[in-house]
Symmetry: C2
Subunit: 536 residues, 2 copies
């Protein structure tokens, strides 16, 4: 008899369900549904969502894919979600925005991962934690983001104390979906670790720290759900009510949730150390695995069980990659008649020999997420001459993002993490020339993941893992991945003829990186402030 | 009776004659003729011309304008020429390329000012002069250019000793034209001073230095014509033969020649200190006047009588200005349908508030002529973000060239030269928005010269000055300029509301200037070499 697992993948604008054969990884059905209210931005920096949309769209795609096979063949469900996407719920687990008293209160809704309303609060947390030498900072390279849980809760406390006071739990959306499916409250180690300031060694930030931040936050830990468990662990069985609603059996195992990007790691076929995993699209997310804990500046999070159970997962990121290429093509190649501008310039750019343009670009057009964690940094293009072409600049921008990645990998290696190959998924992974440039610059082979929906596949893998072998799933992640992920589409091997020139350019990239990013960040920051002040 | 003077203005690709009323400056006639052979480039770095073209085209335009009035009304001729445009002549003053033995030898032809075949020789001269502490270097800010006389002669010695050995004089083309008109050999202080390593205090480089450079150069001074005299001085009367050939009287006074750009200073109406004169076109030439000699790094030449008789003339330059704007429009706004791309982007760029783009650009896309005198430097654009537009970059490039000018003016002021206003001619002087940006950044009023052929007008002024009052001309430069130059077209006054933001950007410009230009020139240089090595 066939056995299937469902991956339920909640992205920024839509949710996707895929139904996967647990024996061979075949994808039997896919369904995608956009959230009815999309992203709501009632004021600058705000990015809100309505949790009802998660239920409406999520249950719809679940039903849709489940209908493709016999209900007794479906054994598990795994859930991944953007993070930190969070909202307040009452004692029954109902989002406060469902309560008519709060339906007009922005802070009662889900604050999407990219909600930036808590910048001031994040600054205060960073300042105080730095002054006090709080250990938790070390797990995040010394700085936390305004996108994370505590700043968002702190913002709610300040801007909407009436919401804060009525909150039983502040939940990650992914954990809430698992609760809605099973009736069980379980906090994913991934959400707690990367976004919730929790570590297995240190637990949550101390009451002393929280009290110093704001006395009303002292007992905030009582609003986090527990226990904390690794993704791939069984959170519970599908509840009778939901099973009925979805037309499924109620003995289906539901896995502890995970972060969407992180779910891509098993979905790309990776479950052990030495292989870096990149998701490359508008921005890039880099994930690394290691058997041991290394805390160092330049990584944005180190979490036990954070990506793959049993290993420490690390993450870093670049804030603009595909976005950067698109920006250049859109703003600097205004030929509106030419819909193929991207292809045309790519062809010209990729025909150049490495080094032939004499350019080096800092890829910080959307700030530097790793390793400098400074969103006030900006882009720079050096080496321009009167014969420089737009295709040459485009090529330099592509290379600039690869040099940014190289700097990240160097930082990890210097910290003791071994990396000897790379697996990539995401839209950019299909651009062969871009991948070849990355391979040549990083001097490592790059495997292209077979699945074009590796994130959702990863969730399905966790669903199969949560069920266990006895129920037709798997007991170990390596078994699950080995069966459910197909071989890489292709491998790009580094061309040693290109190393010398790229190393020469990278030497200059590092000089610029250190001058503008480390020694004199005030140059870019002051210019950016000038821009902001004169555009108000 | 009316009195007229002719300005004979030899440019890079054509010669222009204008006939000017010496009483009121009215331009009565203009004639322009391109050189038959244009610029000949038989190999990379070579830029040659045929002196026969100077005669054919020059005499033609002279005849043309002279025919517009009675021949007895024409009192003087002034000549300006590009520099250092030089060639070897025999004892009779015939260019060696006119000799059938040498008609296939590149080095027997005129090496145009932008001939770059003597880079190696210039490097050797600079190295040796620096080591020996040669005083002449101080007159040129510490470095001489491969475009000047001695490197070009040295190149001829090495590459074509047979030409070198048959040379009686190596002449500047402007001096040769004066010789052809008058039969008199006179070396212009302008050519000798700015391009010939001569100064009134030190004379020419010493025999010891020349011997150390190459023993065959020890007596090279015997190949320079003499005496050295200031432009505006009478070189001689028009010879009987030439007068007859041109249909002119032979009592016409011919002025000592001058460099084309320098001729623009009186042509713009400037004859005294405190006013900087800019000629702004594809590149910018800056000229300054002072009653006293200041030798400092950052100026490219300081010469007694070099621009205006009786004053020290100083010059500096920026290697790409209009060229830089054209490069950006051509390479980065590829809408071939849109012939008005320059106007469209200008309109958008000039509607921005100062500082609103958050960008700062180093304008070294064709190297830095002043104050760094390093042609290996390249351009840089800093402050790019994902919302940066092409119009914003264009605006930053315009501002970047103005900041480059500001750095030059600061250097002059620091050396003790007073500058409190600016007069500009050239194609860019007619772009009001560009001039306003310059005025705001330089914080000085900018006068736009009335004549759109100020260089040729300056030559006509020198023609009138050479004749003297007794012959219907003038005895003093201020009299000649006052009568022959009309009031400025307009004045752009600096807007104090813009000072603060531009000072802020300039602060960062200077940081980048010093980092890339002074402390770490190897970054741009090594990238440029990489480009060259990978494009061969």
């Amino acid at each position: 008899m066939k056995k299937y697992s469902i991956g339920l993948d909640y992205g920024t604008e839509s949710v996707r369900a895929i139904l996967v054969d647990t024996q061979n990884g075949d994808t039997i059905a896919v369904s995608v549904e956009h959230y009815l209210h999309g992203i709501m931005s009632p004021c600058p920096d705000f990015a809100l969502q309505d949790p009802q949309d998660y239920l409406d769209s999520g249950w719809k795609v679940l039903k849709e894919v489940a209908s493709k096979v016999s209900k007794n063949e479906i054994i598990g469900i795994g859930v991944d979600f953007t993070a930190c996407t969070m909202f307040p719920v009452d004692a029954k687990g109902e989002p406060l925005c469902f309560n008519s008293n709060f339906k007009d209160n922005h802070h009662a809704y889900a604050k999407l991962w990219k909600h930036h309303g808590a910048k001031k609060e994040a600054d205060e947390i960073n300042r105080l934690a730095t002054v006090r030498g709080e250990k938790f900072l070390d797990y995040y390279g010394g700085i936390i983001s305004c996108e994370w849980m505590l700043p968002k809760v702190f913002e709610t406390l300040r801007c909407a104390p009436e919401v804060f006071n009525q909150t039983k739990y502040f939940v990650d959306a992914g954990d809430w979906i698992v609760f809605k499916l099973t009736g069980s409250w379980v906090r994913s180690a991934t959400f707690a670790g990367y976004k919730g300031l929790w570590s297995i060694e240190e637990g949550y930030p101390s009451k002393e720290f929280l009290n110093a931040l704001d006395p009303r936050l002292e007992n905030i830990a009582s609003t986090w759900i527990s226990p904390v468990m690794a993704p791939g662990t069984l959170a519970g069985l599908l509840s009778v009510d939901v099973a009925k609603e979805l037309g499924l059996q109620n003995n289906i195992g539901v896995s502890v949730a995970t972060i969407d990007a992180h779910s891509g790691v098993p979905g790309m076929g990776v479950y052990s150390d030495r292989t870096a995993c990149f998701i490359m699209g508008t921005s890039s997310c880099h994930m690394f695995l290691s058997g041991s804990l290394h805390l160092f500046k330049g990584m944005a999070g180190a979490v036990h069980d954070g990506i793959i159970p049993g290993l420490i997962g690390y993450e870093s990121g670049q804030a603009a990659v595909g976005d950067l290429f698109a920006w250049f093509v859109k703003k600097f190649l205004k030929d509106e008649k030419n819909l193929n501008a991207f292809e045309v310039i790519s062809k010209e750019a990729y025909s150049l020999k490495p080094g032939a343009h004499g350019l080096v670009a800092l890829d910080w057009m959307n700030g530097n997420r790793s390793i400098l964690m400074n969103h006030n940094l900006t882009g720079n293009i050096l080496g321009l001459t009167l014969d420089t072409t737009s295709a040459e600049v485009f090529r330099a921008l592509v290379e600039g993002t690869a040099f940014g990645t190289k700097k990240i990998i160097e930082t990890y290696r210097n910290a003791g993490i071994v990396i000897d190959n790379i697996t990539v998924c995401g839209g950019l992974s299909l651009l062969d020339e871009v991948m070849q440039i990355y391979s040549d610059i990083l001097e490592m082979p790059i495997n292209i993941a077979e699945s074009n929906q590796a994130v959702a596949l990863g969730a399905a893998i966790f669903g199969a893992l949560a069920c266990g072998k006895g129920n037709g799933g798997y007991d170990h992640i390596e078994e699950a991945v080995t069966h459910m992920v197909k071989p890489a589409l292709k491998t790009h091997s580094p061309n040693p003829d290109h190393f010398k020139n790229y190393r020469e350019i990278y030497k200059h990239y590092k000089t610029l990186h250190d001058f503008f990013g480390v020694d004199h960040p005030e140059i870019m920051q002051e210019l950016k402030e000038l821009k902001l002040n004169n555009n108000r």
